[in-house]
C-alpha cells in the first residue's frame, strides 16, 4: 500500500460576517477607492435585482433570477477580470455583466423577452446569459482554447452554480481544461440551492472545490459573501491562468436569499429561519461595516449612492419600456449569416402571418 497522490482544499476569507478582518488584506485592497468601487457595484446590482423582480411582478418583465445576497460573487469575479478576458455567465450573474459594461437597459431587454438585449454595446466578446445549466462550460473551454492557440494572455471565466457541478458537460469541459492546461477559470457560485435541491443532495463531495481534483487542477473555496476574498482568489487564479499555468475552480460559498426565480416560491421547500440566519452573512452590509470602520463610507455617501442607483435603474427602465419592438422578421434574418434560398418561402410566410394577425386583431 503506497500513497500515490494527496490533496488539500483550502478556504479563504478576509472579511468576517461582522465586517472585521479575518486575515491581513491583500495589497490591492488597501486601496480604499477600489473597495468602494466593489461596494457600489454590489449595491447597484441589488438595486437592479429589486427592480427587476418588481417589474416582473407587475407584468413588465419575464421571469428573472435575482442574485440577492450573492452580489459579492458576481462583482468580485468581474473585478478580478481584465477587459480582454471573456465572461461566460449563467442566468444569475447580472452583477458581473453590469460590472463589465453590459447596460441595465440591455439586461432588461433580454429578460423582457427580446434578443436585442444580448447584442450589447459593452464587452462584445462576452457570452450571452446561459440558461441551460452548465452548457456554457464547454463554450468556455472553447474560448480558452482559442486564447491558448493564439497565445493571447486572456482568460475565459465561466460562472455557474452548485447545481451545475453535477452536470456531465461541465465535468467534460473541466477535464479538457485540465489536460490542455487551458486559461479557463470557473467560479462555482455555490448559493447552496439548485431550485429546491440543497447542496447536500447535489453531491457527496465535502466541497465543490474538490471537483477540481478529478481534473488535475487546483480547486479553492472562498467565502462568497466576502467580496475581497472573491476578488483576490479569483484574481489569483485568473492571473495564474493568464501566465499559462492552467485552469482552476473557485468555489464561492454564498447563499441564495431570494426565491430561485420570480416563478418560484422557496417557502415550499426551505425554512424562513434558514434564510434569516443567512441574512446575517450577506455581503453588502459586511463590506459597509468594514468601509465605515475604515472611514471610507458614511450615511451621506450611502444615501447618495442609493439615489444614484435608483436614477440609473429608473432611466434604464424607461428606455427599456420605450423601445420599439423588433420586426418579426428578425427571428429569421439573424439565424444564418445570409438567408438560405430555401428559407425565402418561410420568410414570406412570416410576413404574411404578421399581416394576417394584424388583420385578425383589427376585426
Amino acid at each position: 500500500m503506497v500513497e500515490v497522490a494527496s490533496f488539500r482544499i483550502e478556504r479563504i476569507q478576509y472579511l468576517r460576517a461582522d465586517g472585521t478582518l479575518a486575515a491581513p488584506l491583500p495589497p490591492w485592497a488597501e486601496d480604499g477607492e477600489e473597495l468602494v468601487r466593489l461596494y457600489r457595484a454590489m449595491v447597484l446590482t441589488r438595486a437592479y435585482d429589486t427592480k427587476a423582480v418588481n417589474l416582473q411582478r407587475t407584468g413588465r418583465l419575464g421571469t428573472v433570477a435575482s442574485s440577492l445576497g450573492q452580489e459579492a460573487v458576481a462583482v468580485g469575479t468581474a473585478a478580478a477580470m481584465r477587459p480582454q478576458d471573456v465572461l461566460l455567465p449563467s442566468f444569475r450573474e447580472q452583477g458581473a455583466m453590469l460590472y463589465r459594461g453590459v447596460r441595465i437597459e440591455e439586461l432588461l431587454t433580454f429578460w423582457g423577452g427580446d434578443e436585442r438585449g444580448s447584442n450589447w454595446s459593452g464587452p462584445r466578446e462576452d457570452f450571452p446569459v446561459c440558461i441551460p445549466v452548465g452548457t456554457h462550460a464547454p463554450h468556455a473551454a472553447g474560448v480558452a482554447t482559442a486564447f491558448k492557440l493564439r497565445r493571447e494572455p486572456r482568460v475565459a471565466v465561466c460562472m455557474l452554480g452548485d447545481g451545475a457541478t453535477s452536470k456531465g458537460d461541465v465535468y467534460e469541459a473541466w477535464n479538457l481544461a485540465g489536460v490542455w492546461r487551458l486559461p479557463m477559470v470557473t467560479v462555482v457560485n455555490n448559493n447552496q440551492w439548485a431550485i429546491s435541491v440543497p447542496r447536500s443532495a447535489q453531491t457527496a463531495a465535502a466541497t465543490l472545490a474538490q471537483k477540481a481534483i478529478a481534473c488535475g487542477m487546483p480547486g479553492v473555496q472562498v467565502d462568497g459573501n466576502d467580496v475581497i476574498a472573491v476578488r483576490e482568489v479569483v484574481g489569483r487564479m485568473i492571473e495564474r491562468a493568464r501566465a499559462g499555468e492552467g485552469p482552476a475552480i473557485v468555489e464561492a460559498v454564498t447563499y441564495r436569499l431570494s426565491d430561485h426565480t420570480t416563478a418560484d416560491d422557496a417557502r415550499r421547500y426551505r425554512d424562513d429561519a434558514e434564510v434569516s440566519a443567512h441574512w446575517k452573512e450577506e455581503p453588502i452590509a459586511r463590506l459597509r461595516t468594514f468601509l465605515t470602520a475604515r472611514g471610507l463610507w458614511d450615511k451621506d455617501k450611502e444615501e447618495q449612492l442609493l439615489a444614484w442607483c435608483a436614477r440609473e435603474v429608473e432611466s434604464a427602465v424607461e428606455a427599456y419600456l420605450a423601445r420599439a419592438p423588433a420586426p418579426a422578421t428578425d427571428m429569421i434574418d439573424y439565424v444564418f449569416a445570409e438567408l438560405p434560398a430555401p428559407m425565402r418561402a418561410q420568410r414570406a410566410e412570416l410576413v404574411r402571418r404578421v399581416a394576417r394577425r394584424a388583420e385578425g386583431a383589427e376585426r
Partner: protein, 326 residues
C-alpha cells in the same frame, strides 16, 4: 368525478399508478418537496415517501440511463425532465439503450419507463422553456411518443404509458396545463396507446393536431362550421407509432388535410403525417396537404414568440386554402 386541469390529471394519474403498483417511482429535479416546477408531482412525496419520489442531482444526461437500470431491475421509473429545452441529453440513452435493450437481449432484459416533460410555447417563458422537440423523440426506434391534449386524455394516456412494458416519452403541453378544467374520473381506466382520437367528425377536411394545438384546431373547426365547412378534428395522441389507419380513413372521407403543430416544419412531426398521406392516401386527396407550423428558426424570446407559433388565424387561412380545391 372531479373537474381537473391537465396538470392535475397528470398528478392524479401519477398517484394512481404509484398506489396500484409499488414499482412505480418518480424521479427528476425538484419533483419532491417542491412538487415539480409545474406542481405535477405535488403531494407525491408526502404520500409515497422519499423512496418512491426521488429528487436527483442536476444531471439530465443521467436520467434515462438511470431509468434503464431501474427498468431492467423491475422498477417502472417515471422521469421528469424539467423543460423541453433540457430534454435533448435524453436522446443518446433513448436511442442507444432504452429503445433497444429488449431487442438487444432478445427479451432477456427490458426497461419500461416513462420520460415526461412539459413542452411547447405560448407561456412567455425564458429561453429554452418553449420548445416542441417531439420529432426528435418520435424518430427513435423502440420508443413511443405520446402527447395528451386534455385533462382526461392526460390521465388515461399517462396511466397507459406507465403500465406499458416499454419506454414511452410523454410530452405535456404546458400551455394548457391549467387552461381548462374537465371532469375526470379517477377510476384507473387507461386510454389506448397507438391510437389517434377523432375528436370531432367532419366531411370536408381533416384537421390534425396534438397537445396545445388541439384547442386551436377545435376552435378552427367551430369557425369553419359557420362557413359551412365540416371539419374532422383528429388528436394524434400517440405520435409514434402513428395510427395511420385512422388518418387514412379520415382523409379517404374528407379528401383534405391540414396539420397543425408548434415545432419547426422541416423534418418536423407533421412531415410524417403528410408523407403517409402522400403514399397511402394520395388518391383520396383533393387538395394539397398543408402544414401550419412554426418556422425553421430557434424559438424566439417571448416578444416575437406569438408570431413564431401557429394561431387560429393561420389555421383558418390554411383550411380555407385547402377548401378552395374542390
Amino acid at each position: 368525478m372531479t373537474a381537473m386541469t391537465l396538470v392535475e390529471a397528470v398528478r392524479t394519474a401519477l398517484a394512481r399508478a404509484m398506489a396500484e403498483d409499488p414499482t412505480v417511482l418518480v424521479l427528476g429535479e425538484d419533483v419532491g418537496k417542491d412538487g415539480g416546477v409545474f406542481r405535477a408531482t405535488e403531494g407525491l412525496l408526502e404520500r409515497f415517501g422519499p423512496e418512491r419520489v426521488l429528487d436527483t442531482p442536476l444531471s439530465e444526461a443521467l436520467f434515462v440511463g438511470l431509468a434503464v437500470g431501474l427498468g431492467a431491475q423491475g422498477f417502472k421509473p417515471v422521469v421528469e425532465f424539467q423543460f423541453d429545452g433540457f430534454s435533448y441529453p435524453a436522446i443518446d440513452q433513448l436511442v442507444n439503450h432504452a429503445g433497444r435493450l429488449r431487442a438487444r437481449t432478445r427479451g432477456r432484459l427490458s426497461c419500461p419507463m416513462v420520460v415526461r416533460f412539459p413542452y411547447g410555447g405560448g407561456v412567455r417563458a425564458p429561453e429554452h422553456h418553449s420548445e416542441s422537440p417531439e420529432a426528435f423523440f418520435a424518430h427513435i426506434p423502440g420508443v413511443r411518443t405520446v402527447i395528451p391534449s386534455s385533462p382526461a386524455r392526460a390521465y388515461g394516456l399517462l396511466l397507459a404509458a406507465i403500465r406499458d412494458p416499454d419506454p414511452v416519452v410523454f410530452l405535456e403541453p404546458k400551455r394548457i396545463y391549467r387552461a381548462v378544467r374537465e371532469e375526470v374520473v379517477d377510476d384507473g381506466r387507461a386510454l389506448p396507446l397507438d391510437r389517434c382520437f377523432v375528436l370531432r367528425e367532419g366531411r370536408d377536411l381533416t384537421l390534425v393536431a396534438w397537445g396545445a394545438m388541439i384547442p386551436v384546431a377545435l376552435q378552427a373547426s367551430a369557425e369553419l362550421a359557420k362557413e359551412g365547412v365540416s371539419v374532422e378534428v383528429i388528436d394524434i395522441a400517440t405520435l409514434k407509432p402513428l395510427d395511420c389507419a385512422t388518418l387514412l380513413d379520415s382523409v379517404a372521407k374528407t379528401g383534405r388535410c391540414v396539420i397543425v403543430h408548434e415545432a419547426p416544419p422541416s423534418f418536423g412531426p407533421g412531415a410524417e403525417i403528410a408523407a403517409v398521406l402522400a403514399s397511402e392516401g394520395l388518391f383520396s386527396l383533393l387538395a394539397p396537404v398543408l402544414r401550419v407550423t412554426a418556422f425553421d428558426v430557434p424559438t424566439p424570446l417571448p416578444r416575437l414568440e406569438e408570431l413564431f407559433l401557429p394561431a387560429l388565424a393561420d389555421v383558418l387561412e390554411a383550411c380555407r386554402r385547402a377548401m378552395a380545391h374542390r
